[in-house]
């Protein structure tokens, strides 16, 4: 008897549409859809995909509870032994959705789940401790390797085998106890001897490496300083002209504060999908304190408020993008001879 597998994919891989169809409501179809066919083949008859859940990435982001419940129901209805989600490659909202439903199903249905995505997909950091996530390339060109890897890991979990590094999953960062053959003291002296001789050794606990940034010295002359405002709280001009995404932002915006002393509901809004937007939409100064800084400017506490503000959405932003935004914005501010920045986040 083959194992029963349910597969979760987004609107793009279901062939329904691209970004324009990201609000596609969740639906369940029997059998395989899209990459499910290749996955079913890779499962070699030992497992079959009995149903496919299709959901738009935006729909999943905006209706997470409903989507999780629907996925749980589908798994129960189709008597799934395992959930496969993705592969999501570098698509941030898709990866996050795959992680979300996989983690939910594991906890609430009690069956294993396997997903797959690129290592910098924001879904990785959020869900890796709960899930086995197969590492894929950064685009759908990697489908050919992702699919067999997902199938192999899924079969191992179905058979109750302990996955190993060979299954190609992204390190989960979870520590598991085990009894070694020798006592810790012996292992320690053996390791030290290798280290002394310059031979390769593997530490039992890799020390976490912190990306420490040296703090800059305090601003000496605040009265003549130009202060800039930058936010990851998503404050943008009304209408979000640069289409900064509510999560997994791929870009940041640069906007003029010329002539603006106060942000108002008719001209400004938030684009951030990670918090209740009501209060930020009512008065965006709550996230980007333009009004207060204008006051400080008038009072002579600061020299002036820089004429541009920069904004992105810090919700499931990939580390690579965050780094790039920071470097670019930093360079622009430096070129404009700004002395200090107030960074607001939510």
């Amino acid at each position: 008897m083959a194992y029963r597998v349910v597969h979760y994919i987004n609107q793009f891989f279901a062939g329904i549409g691209g970004e324009d169809k990201a609000d596609h409501e969740l639906e369940v179809r029997e059998g395989v859809v899209g990459p499910g066919l290749a996955l079913a083949n890779a499962l070699k008859g030992e497992a079959e995909i009995v149903a496919t859940i299709i959901c738009g990435d935006n729909f999943a982001a905006m209706h997470s509870e409903q989507v999780c419940a629907a996925v749980e129901n589908a798994c129960k209805q189709y008597q799934a032994d395992l959930l496969l989600a993705g592969p999501a490659f570098n698509a941030g909202r898709y990866g996050t959705a795959c992680g979300m439903v996989s983690s939910f199903v594991q906890k609430n249905v009690g069956i294993p789940a396997v997903t797959a995505m690129y290592k910098e997909n924001p879904g990785v950091d959020i869900y890796k401790k709960d899930l086995y996530i197969v590492e894929t390339g950064d685009s759908a060109r990697g489908m050919g390797t992702a699919v067999p890897a997902m199938a192999k890991l899924a079969l191992a979990l179905l058979k109750g085998e302990q996955p190993s590094k060979e299954h190609g999953y992204i390190e989960r960062g979870v520590r598991v106890n085990t009894f070694y053959d020798t006592c810790g003291a012996e292992r320690a002296v053996t390791m030290l001897l290798k280290k002394i001789k310059g031979e390769p050794f593997t530490t039992e606990y890799p020390m976490p490496v912190f990306d420490r940034v040296e703090p800059r010295p305090a601003v000496k002359d605040m009265k003549s300083a130009t202060i800039a405002l930058v936010t990851s709280g998503g404050i943008v001009p009304k209408g979000n002209p640069d289409h900064i995404a509510a999560s997994s932002a791929q870009n940041y915006g640069e906007y003029s504060l010329s002539g603006i002393n106060d942000l108002t509901a008719d001209k400004h809004q938030t684009a951030h999908g990670g918090y209740d937007q009501t209060y930020a939409n009512q008065d965006a100064d709550r996230v980007l304190p333009v009004d207060v800084l204008r006051d400080l400017e008038k009072e002579g506490v600061i020299g002036k408020l820089h004429e541009m503000w920069y904004a992105t959405v810090g919700n499931g932003t990939s580390v690579a993008n965050a780094r790039r935004f920071g470097q670019e914005i930093g360079q622009k501010l430096k070129d404009a001879q700004v002395q200090a920045v107030i960074l607001t986040s939510t």
Binding site: P215, P217, A218, K220
Partner: protein
Amino acid sequence: MMERRTLSGVVMRRMLLITNNRLFFGLCRPGLSVVAALEGCNDASTPLTSLDVVRIARDTIHRGWVLAHHPLYGNVRPRLQPFRTILLLEPERFVDGRPEPDLLSLHLISEAMTVYESERESLALVDAVPESLARDCAFLDAELMKETLAQAGVPATWSSDRTITCCRGQREGERL
């Protein structure tokens, strides 16, 4: 390090003791202020949590105050010890009259915040643990601060009913 040189000689640096442990509320010594981490403004108020104490310490360290000791306990996690007491010394270095934060204190307090935050859902709460546990934990917190206080020139004497006896005079306290 506990001392500061002035033109008139060497004086002890001012100290702040931030704590949610009632045993310390009566501690007094010139130059020492006890910040009682309480909800509300009177003696009967509920003590804040150990995480709150660490947070208040962090905010104070951002203003240049310096840790006298490591802000984590040895051997006890926040889940098991509802009390936390932290001793800070007044800022040492100034730039244009404003205190410069001490980087080691910053590093240690933010590492400590990580530990306390990671157990925020399961913190031991003063009012929620059995009485015998609360009594013993308060005593242990005070005991483990003894060496630090002694080096800072604040001897604490313990009476048989396990409370700190204060020197004659009023309790100095301030709320942040």
